[in-house]
């Protein structure tokens, strides 16, 4: 059985997809990578090259510019959009043997998760409103107050959202809405 913690969240589940993360060393050499992300970026950049060494240009240059702009004592995170529909979230890691750079690749075509979910799961406008508030952490009474509807109505919308997304609980629903493709419960 999947367990629930005290706040009603699902405890653990398996995902079909993982974050499109790439870890670089200080010289921007790829140390660890989601290779699907690398191949996607290479296609997006239309700039095929050996994927085992570094990010394709202009992404490599964009990351280099970000790092150069950081104040060594403070800034450690930034977002850049070096090519259309691709954003890189760049953050600095520190380790015993030096610094690393974590680069998340975001597909901006999916920047509005609620709109994407509405299309994917055929959500009504009201269901989208409830979903957005649920994902912002609003409780049922708070959602009822925000939308000026009864709490029982909110509960009905929530059940509809669970049914349409095929989720059993809030965490699984959020995972599905965010496109994390939860597909298997852990025993």
């Amino acid at each position: 059985m999947m367990t629930e913690n005290g706040d009603g969240h699902a405890d653990i589940m398996a995902l079909r997809s993982k974050p499109r993360l790439i870890v670089l060393d200080e010289s921007l050499r790829i140390v660890f990578a989601d290779w699907t992300a690398i191949l996607t970026l290479m296609r997006a950049c239309d700039n095929p090259r050996d994927p085992l060494e570094s990010l394709p240009e202009p992404l490599n240059g964009a990351v280099r510019d970000v790092i150069a702009s950081w104040d060594a004592s403070t800034a450690a995170e930034a977002v850049v959009e070096p090519i259309p529909d691709v954003a890189l979230r760049v953050s600095r890691l520190r380790g015993e043997s030096g610094s690393y750079i974590a680069v998340f690749c975001e597909n901006l075509a999916r920047r509005d998760d609620i709109k994407h979910a509405a299309d994917t799961f055929s959500l009504t406008r009201r269901e989208q409103e409830v979903l957005r508030l649920v994902m912002q952490g609003f409780s049922t009474p708070e959602i009822a107050a925000e939308l000026t509807i009864a709490e029982t109505t909110v509960s009905d919308y929530f059940k509809q959202l669970l049914r349409k997304t095929g989720a059993k609980n809030r965490t699984e629903m959020i995972a599905r809405v965010l496109g994390w493709s939860a597909h298997k419960r852990q025993e």
Binding site: N5, D7, H9, A10, D11, I12, M13, A14, L15, R16, S17, K18, P19, L21, V23, I30, V31, F32, A33, D34, W35, L52, A76, E77, A78, V79, E81, A87, R89, S91, R92, L93, R94, G95, E96, S97, S99, Y100, A102, E106, L108, R111, D112, D113, I114, R132, M135, Q136, G137, F138, T171, I174, A175, L178, W180, A182, K184, Q186
Partner: protein, 98 residues
């Protein structure tokens, strides 16, 4: 952080925090941020999440709720010189100021 809010949407307003562990589940890289910028007891949460991942599976990508406002996504990654386990702590319950 404003830039992140704009493209991530309100439900994911913050960056998550990336922790990299070796195959023996030892931390080899942590966010280069001050402790007060990290979730409370982050290192403990990360180690616990990695242990649970190792107990469950060495190949799946797992999503765990490690608190009312925090997911841990745990997954392996590979590179030219070896493999690692990433624990990505991600807040999901950011409230929007009214």
């Amino acid at each position: 952080m404003d830039d992140a809010s704009q493209f991530l949407g309100v439900q994911r307003r913050n960056f998550g925090w990336v922790y990299v562990l070796d195959e023996d589940l030892r931390l080899i890289a942590t966010p280069a941020l001050s402790d007060d910028s990290l979730p409370e007891n982050a290192s403990t949460l990360v180690r616990d999440a990695a242990m649970r991942w190792a107990h469950q599976s060495w190949q799946h990508e797992l999503l765990m709720s490690v608190g009312p406002a925090l997911f841990a996504r745990v997954f392996p990654m590979h590179g030219p010189d070896g493999s690692c386990i990433v624990v990505y702590l991600e807040p999901f319950r950011e409230r929007v100021p009214r």
